[in-house]
């Protein structure tokens, strides 16, 4: 009797998890399936398998231009974010001054604020400065939203043990620069690496900032996909979307291997204080 009840519970549980898995993964699965179509419309299940749409988008100058622009913007923005974020984290790690916690909260606030509002504010601001439509403005916008992630991850990797080891090194006669190079930097390196890659992903994926700041000539990849999907999704759009997702997931796996994704996504985002 009890065994029977236990089995029912287990079956219900398995069924429920399956349902969740379908709900969460179905859209992704469908897009990848559609991209493999031989026909020119979004048939699902695909009619005949082929990679022709991948070839089509990778030889299409428009898609290539968007992919290139997105990669460049993400690379430059994440590097700038990495520098500012790492330096800031070191300053916060070493400095003991009044208002330090408030400053940390301030640094992380671009994560909390809806991206659409940040994008709008930057649009008006850059319009006033007559910078709109330049890739420079777009990069700056991406730096604003990516640098808090780097700062948080690096700050998280500079834990209390770091301070202890630094003190030990200084006691043994190392000067500050040596301590920094031999102790602080190696300990922070996984954090810096993961933060930078995550910043790259955030920038590469970004819609809300690019929506307002992207130039007509240089449309980023997510915005270009958005424009196409809004009209009509085609297997070609599905193909570039799939490539886009593979690239992001591959980078996310690197982050997961280095420091663990949960530490980058962060307690503030998922834990609310």
């Amino acid at each position: 009797m009890q065994l029977e009840a236990g089995r029912t519970a287990a079956v219900t549980r398995a069924f429920y998890i399956l349902l969740i898995a379908v709900f969460v993964l179905a859209p992704l699965f469908v897009v990848v399936a559609v991209s493999l179509n031989r026909v020119a419309f979004t048939a699902f299940p695909p009619r005949g398998l082929s990679l022709r749409w991948y070839q089509a988008v990778l030889t299409d100058p428009q898609w290539r231009a968007s992919l290139t622009v997105s990669l460049w913007i993400a690379a430059v923005a994440s590097l700038l974010a990495a520098c500012a974020g790492t330096l800031g984290a070191i300053g916060l790690h070493r400095g003991r001054f009044p208002g330090r916690d408030a400053l940390v909260a301030g640094f992380l606030s671009p994560i909390v604020l809806p991206g659409l509002i940040t994008g709008l504010a930057l649009l008006f601001f850059f319009a006033r400065l007559r910078w709109t439509g330049t890739n420079f403005a777009l990069v700056l916008g991406h730096v604003v939203i990516t640098f808090p992630y780097v700062l948080r991850v690096v700050l998280g990797s500079l834990v209390r043990e770091t301070a202890t080891l630094e003190e030990a090194a200084m006691t043994l006669g190392a000067d500050e620069l040596t301590t920094f190079r031999r102790i602080t930097l190696p300990l922070a390196r996984p954090g810096i690496l993961a933060g930078t890659i995550f910043a790259f992903i955030i920038s590469f994926d970004n819609i809300t900032i690019s929506l307002f700041l992207t130039a007509p000539r240089t449309v980023t990849l997510p915005i270009r996909i958005l424009e196409h999907v809004q009209w009509a999704g085609t297997p070609a759009v599905a193909a570039i979307s799939s490539l886009f997702v593979f690239l992001t997931v591959a980078l996310a796996l690197v982050v997961e291997r280095t420091v663990g994704l949960h530490r980058v996504v962060g307690e503030e985002t998922v834990g609310f204080g």
Partner: protein
């Protein structure tokens, strides 16, 4: 070696000179970057520059613009007015969009809660392996671009989409259900990814509970339902509050899902704002809508933060 050194350079011991220079540089770096009081400021300055010049200042500017009067030909300061806010908060059409936004937020929160709570419970009680698998499952949509996810939903939910084809083939319906371009489609699109933000806080609240309290209650003769009702549920409420606040504020400030899954007549605050900025070109009005969205999202977070403090695990623990 000596022919490399330029004329006029003190010859003799170039390596020693270089070493002296290196040492001086090192002293300077030590003093400026680490030893002086200003060093912290130097380290923080790039971040501060970004925070102030590219975040705080634009937001202040946005607030200012929201008080401008709209002029079709120029984008510049005018006498300040609250007209933009009044127009949005008191006009019937705009008011309906506010109500629809709030409705979207509430429905999405309830859907993710109903779907997510059991999963959080299962995660908290399973082995590390199963837990890891479920965690990856929950986090996967976060790694997929929102446009790609929405594209997938359009293929699934459309009139000739997967669901309608399946239901027609099974003979359950005679004509396609209209799912696309309704609130339901938007809720589905939002719930799929915001699910993660509901599950994770509940999961971590439940982890904090520990099994010992439940076992104690069961030993004292409580039925499984009573254990859940009087022990597990109250202790998980902070997680529920946190998750709800996050999902609600993300839902009311979402743009891509309502824009693409809601159809051309589905107006929420964000899509109206976008329309004002890109089509109507009434920037001051768009700025005002932006601030109303921000206010709605922040107010929810603050309110639920307060509510959470009231039902914190410590006090719930004392109550039981």
């Amino acid at each position: 070696m000596s022919n490399v050194i330029p004329r006029g350079w003190p010859t003799g011991r170039p390596d020693r000179l270089l070493r002296l220079a290196a040492r001086a540089l090192r002293r300077l770096a030590n003093a400026v970057l680490f030893r002086s009081r200003a060093s912290t400021l130097i380290q923080l300055s790039p971040g501060l520059l970004i925070l102030v010049a590219l975040f705080a200042l634009p937001l202040l500017f946005l607030a200012w613009v929201s008080l401008w009067r709209h002029s079709p030909n120029s984008f510049g300061p005018t006498p300040l007015t609250l007209e933009n806010y009044r127009r949005f908060l008191f006009d019937g059409f705009f008011l309906r969009s506010i109500l629809r936004t709030l409705q979207l937020g509430i429905v999405t929160t309830l859907v993710t809660l109903a779907l997510g709570y059991p999963l959080a419970l299962i995660m908290a009680r399973s082995t590390a392996r199963v837990r890891g698998f479920l965690l990856v499952l929950v986090l996967t949509p976060l790694m997929v671009s929102v446009v790609v996810r929405v594209f997938g939903w359009m293929v699934i939910l459309g009139d000739t989409g997967l669901i309608n084809k399946a239901l027609l083939a099974l003979g359950l319906i005679d004509q396609p259900l209209r799912i696309m371009n309704t609130m339901a489609a938007v809720v589905i699109g939002l719930a799929q990814v915001e699910f993660a933000f509901m599950v994770l806080p509940i999961f971590s609240a439940l982890l904090g509970v520990g099994r010992s309290l439940e076992e104690a209650a069961a030993t004292l003769g409580a039925s499984p339902w009573r254990v859940f009702r009087h022990v597990v549920l109250p202790l998980s409420l902070p997680g529920v509050a946190a998750g709800s606040a996050l999902v609600f504020s993300l839902s009311v400030s979402a743009f891509v899902q309502p824009q693409l899954l809601g159809g051309s007549s589905f107006f929420v605050m964000t899509t109206l704002m976008y329309q004002q900025i890109t089509a109507t070109l009434n920037w001051p009005f768009g700025a005002a809508i932006g601030f109303i969205i921000l206010g709605t999202a922040l107010l929810t977070l603050i309110l639920l933060g307060v509510a959470m403090r009231k039902i914190s695990p410590r006090r719930a623990g004392h109550a039981t």
